[in-house]
Symmetry: C2
Subunit: 658 residues, 2 copies
Amino acid sequence: MSNTAQQNDLANAIRSLAMDAVEKAQSGHPGLPMGCADIATVLFTKIMKFDPQDHKWADRDRFVLSAGHGSMLLYASLYLLGYKDMTIEQIKEFRQVNSKTAGHPEYHFAQGIETTTGPLGQGVGNAVGMAIAEAKLAAEFGSDLVDHYTYALAGDGCLMEGISQESIGLAGHLKLNKLIVIWDNNGITIDGKVSNADSTDQLKRFEASGWATISVDGHDQDAIEKALIEAKQNDQPTLIAAKTTIGYGAPKKSGTAGVHGSPLGADELKAAKQALGIEYPEFEVPQDVISAWRSAGARGSQVRAEWLERLEASDKRAEFERRMAGELAPGFAEALDGFKKQLAEEQPKLATRKSSQNALEVINGALTETLGGSADLTGSNNTNTSQTKPFTADDRSGRYMHYGIREHGMAAAMNGIALHGGLIPYGGSFLCFTDYARPSIRLSALMGIRVIYVMTHDSIGLGEDGPTHQPVEHLSALRAIPNLLVLRPADATEALECWQIALESEARPSVLALSRQGLPSVRPDYAMENKSRRGAYTVAGSPEADVVIFASGSEVTIALEGMKMLEEQKGISARVVSVPSMELFEEQPDGYKDEIFGGAKARVAIEAGVGMSWARFLGDKGKFVGMTGFGASGKIEDLYSFFGITAEAIVEAVVSQM
Amino acid sequence: MSNTAQQNDLANAIRSLAMDAVEKAQSGHPGLPMGCADIATVLFTKIMKFDPQDHKWADRDRFVLSAGHGSMLLYASLYLLGYKDMTIEQIKEFRQVNSKTAGHPEYHFAQGIETTTGPLGQGVGNAVGMAIAEAKLAAEFGSDLVDHYTYALAGDGCLMEGISQESIGLAGHLKLNKLIVIWDNNGITIDGKVSNADSTDQLKRFEASGWATISVDGHDQDAIEKALIEAKQNDQPTLIAAKTTIGYGAPKKSGTAGVHGSPLGADELKAAKQALGIEYPEFEVPQDVISAWRSAGARGSQVRAEWLERLEASDKRAEFERRMAGELAPGFAEALDGFKKQLAEEQPKLATRKSSQNALEVINGALTETLGGSADLTGSNNTNTSQTKPFTADDRSGRYMHYGIREHGMAAAMNGIALHGGLIPYGGSFLCFTDYARPSIRLSALMGIRVIYVMTHDSIGLGEDGPTHQPVEHLSALRAIPNLLVLRPADATEALECWQIALESEARPSVLALSRQGLPSVRPDYAMENKSRRGAYTVAGSPEADVVIFASGSEVTIALEGMKMLEEQKGISARVVSVPSMELFEEQPDGYKDEIFGGAKARVAIEAGVGMSWARFLGDKGKFVGMTGFGASGKIEDLYSFFGITAEAIVEAVVSQM
C-alpha cells in the first residue's frame, strides 16, 4: 500500500465518521465503511461525475451501494462531499427514527441515495437497470445529453445471492460497458469466513458471463484509480475485485466477522483511531480534510454547467426534460379515451392479457418512454407491440427487453430503470412467478417508484400447466404489500383503465393481473370516467338489491351469471361489484364505501384464489367462493367446476345466508 | 450420431408417447421429451440404480426432472420401465384433472416422481439437497446401506434462474461428487434462441464453482453413457452439457421455439414419426421395445435384494428404518415435556429466537435426524446447538449446514433433503427474507413435506436495520400459502410447543416466526397439553369478558398489558387469546372456535404486521392494531410507540367499539 498522507486522511475521515456513528447508535456495520473507505475516496474524489449542488442532475454518474449495510460509507461520503441535507447532525442521528441516516440507505431520505439497498444482491440488479436506461437514453438523446457511468459496490453476500447471477448474465449479454461493479472482496461474512460456505472463483464466473475483470488491492488508492480508468474503457461491463480488509484499521477485530455488524466498542475504537492516525475528536473531521473533500465534490459543477449549455442548445430539450420529470406525453389521455370509445362499441371478448396488449399498442404509440419486456414469455404475456423492437447489445434504440428466464433480475433491473428516470419500465411473467421476483417487487413499493408488472395467467384459468404454475395465494400475498397497486381488470375496458392508472401512478408500482382465458365485456357503455380508479364499483344491479356480489377479473363474469341465476331461479335481487383494486377502494371516502357495501342482506365474494384478502369485504356472515388449496392440472372449464368456482356456488352461498 | 437400431427404438418409444400424449391433450411440451429421449434412455436403461417394484427403496438413485415442463419424458420412461401405476391409460390422460400425469410432475401423484418440478431451477436445488442427504446418511449408516447418485436434468431456464447459481455454488463448495446435472443444451427458449437473452459460457460458470464438466452429443447414446460413467468417478459434482435438438425428429419444428410448448399438429406429428421410423399406432409401443425397457427396468431387483440382505444383517437396521420412515425417536415427546416443566418453573424472559435455540438443544439431543443450518445468520437465528458440528466437504458427519447467503438455495436444498428421507431439515434466515425463498417454500407446501423454516427478527422489533429488513406483510403473505403452518410463539413455552408441532407435522412444512427482542413468559403454569396445537387459546381473562383481544408472538405481551389497562382504567373486562397458528385454529371444531370468539362485545387483534390475515377474526366491527405501511429504522421501543402498537392503542380500539 502506497497511499499518500492526503489520500489516507481522506479515507480515514470516512472511517472515523463510520466508527463514531455506529458507536453512538450502538448499532450498525463498521466493517464495510472501514474496509471500503479507500475505494469510496477514489470513486468520489477522482472518478465519478456528479454535483452536490444538483443531486438530480440527469447526466450524473450513479453510485449504488449494493452492500447496503455499509450505509455509513455512503452517508459519510455524502457529508464530506457537501451534499446539503447530509449534515453532521444527521450522521450523529444514525439509525434513529426520523433521521435521514437509516440503518440501510433509503431512497428519498437524502440526496445522493440513488436506491434503497440492504436486501442483498438487489443493488447489482438496480445498477444493471440504470446502465440499461443510460444506454437507451443515450441512443435516443445523444451522448451530448446522456453519457454517464453506473458504479455498484457489492459484497460477498450480493454475489452469493442468485439474483446477482441473473443480473450479471443480463449485463454481460447486453455488453453494458458503462457498468462497473466493485466487489468488496474481504473474505468475511456474518458466519465467519466466506470459505465456510463458498469456493466460487468470482472472476472466472463473471468472465463466463462476458464481463471484463480486474483485480486490485482495495487499499491502494492509485491502483484503484488506475483500475477504474481502465474499466471505463472496456467494451463490456467490468468487475473490479478489490481485495480489502474488513474493519481496516481496527487492531483486534479487522479481518474478522466480529467487525461486520457490531460497534467496535470504546477500547477497540480508540485503538483503531490510533492505528490509523486519527487524532481528532469524534464526529469532528479537521477543516483541511473537509475542504479537500468539498473541493473534490465541487469539481463536477463546471461539467454540469457545460452540460446545461448543451441542453439549452438542444432541440430535444423539451422532450428530454419531460421524460426526466416523469410526466406523461400530452395527448396520452386523449389517445386512451379514443380507444376506450372504440372498445365500448366493439365489446370485444378477449383474454385480459390480449386486451392489455391492445391497450399497450395505443400506449406505446402515445408514449415514447415505455420500455417493455418479458422474462421469456413474450408470446404469453403479450407485452410486445408493433413499436417494440428489441434493445440489444448492438442496437440500443430498441424498446423491448428480452430479460431471459430471470424474473428477479428483471424486476431489479426495472427498479433501476425507473430510478434512473426517463423511462417507464414494464415487464411480464406469469402471476405465479411474482414469487421469484418478490424481493424486488417489495422494493419497488418501498421506494415508491413507477414499475409496472404485467402478470398474466392469473389463476387456475391457466389450465393444464397445473398447480406449480397456477397462482392461488398470490393476489392476497401481493395485496399484503404496502404501497403496491394490485390491478385485476375484468374485461378490455377495465384493462385499459388499469393501464392508465398504472402509468399515472408516479409514486407506486403496479401489478396487472391478467387472464389467460377469454372474457366477455362487462362494461356495455362508454364512460369517460375511469371507474377502475375507484377500486370497486357497481357493474350491474340495483343499489337496493338484497345481495351484493364482489368479484375481480375473470370472476366478474361468473358473478354476473350468478346474479342472473339468483333472479331467475330464486327471485333474489343482486348487485355485482367489480373490484379491480382493493388498494384504491380503501382510499375512497367513507360515503362511497358505504354506498358500495349498501344495505345488502347477504354478501358474497368470488375470486379464483384464496379468500384472505376478501375477509374485509365479507364481515361476519358473508361467504367466499374461491380456492382453499392449490390448483390442479386440467382444462380451464374442468377446473372451475372441479373447484366449485361457479354461478351455482354463488347462489348456494347466498341462499345459506338468507 | 451412432446409435444402434435398438438404441433408437428405445428412445423413439419415449418420443412417440410424448408426441401422442401432447397431441391428445392438445396441450403440453413435446420439445424436451423428444430432445432428451436419448439421455433418458441411457440413464434409465444403463446407468441408474432403482427398482420399479419398490419405488421407495431407500438406496435408489434419484432422478430429478428440473425442467419439469418436459414431464412426458418422465411419464413415458416410468411407463416403459414398468412402474405399476404408470399405465398407458394414465399416459392417455395426460394433463387431465385427477390423472397421475399432470402438466408438470407432481410428487405423490405417481411412483418414481421424486419431486414436484416446473418452477424453473428448483429441481437443481432439490438435487443438491438429495445429494447432501445421501452424503450425510452414508457417513452415518455406511456405504453398505447408503450409496447412490442423484441425477438432475436441467434446461436453459433452470440455469438462467438465480437459484441455480446458489445451488451450484453450494454443491461445488461441498464437493457433492455424487451429484450429476445434465444440461439439455438445446439453445432454445420460449422467446426464441437462448442467444436472444444470454451469452453465458455455462461450462466455465460451473467450473468457477468447483464443478467438473463434460460436453457430449446428446443424441449419441454411447457417448452419453461414457460421460455418465466418467462423471460418477469425479470427486466433484459434474455438469454434463448435452448438445441436443429440441423436438428431435420433427422435420419442420425441431430446433425451434415452436416445438417447446405446443402440440406438433397432426401433419408434423406424422412427419416426425416417419422421419424417426416410428411405424406403430399412437400409444402402442411394440412389445419387443417394451420388453427391452422392462428388462432394463428389472435389472435393479437383484441389486436391491443384495441391499436388503445387508440391511437385515446390519446392527443399524432399526434406526435406519425408523429414520427413513420419518418416525420421531422414542423418548422425543418425553424429553420435550421434561423441558416444558422446567420452563414453567423458570419462567424465562427471552427472545423467542433464543427460546427456540433452547428447545433445539433438547430436540437435537433427542433426535439424530435433524439437520440444521442457516443462510449465514447463525448467531442471529440461533439455529446452532451443542450437537451441530458443521457438515463440510471434508466431514460428512456434521449436522449443520452453512448454506451461505443463499436463502433460496437453502430452501430448495431443504426440500431435497426432506424428499430424500432420513433427515428433518431446518434452516434459518430473517423472516423478511422468506421473500427470497418463497418459490421453494411454496413447493414445500405443495408437496406436503416436513421442512422447518426458522425465521427470526419477525417484525419491526428487528429495530435499527429498518424497513428493508423488517417484515410487515410477511406473516399474512405466508399464511396465504395453502398447507403451510405459520407458527408464531409468544414465549419460551409456546416456542417449545411450536417446535413440537413442526416436527410432528410429517405432511406439511412450517415457518417458525421468532422475535429478536426479549419476551416475558405468558404461560405461568405447566400444562401437559400442547396448547399451541389448538392454533388459538385463551391465555388470560374470563370466558365471560366483555372484550376479546387476539394477538400473536411478541404482541401477546402487549395484549396482556392492554387487558390490565382496560380493567384498571376503564373497568372493562377482557380476555387475551394467543394465536400461535391461524391454520391450526381453522382446523378446530366449530364448538371450540365459538368458545374462543365467545360473546365479546368488542374485538381487537394486535400484531406488528399488516392486518390482512386478521380480518377474519375481527368481523364487521372489530379493530386491528398493527402496521399499515412499511417499518422504519430505529430502536425497538421507539418503533413500537412510533407505529402505535401499544397497550394504549388497544384500549382506544376497545373504547371506540363500546
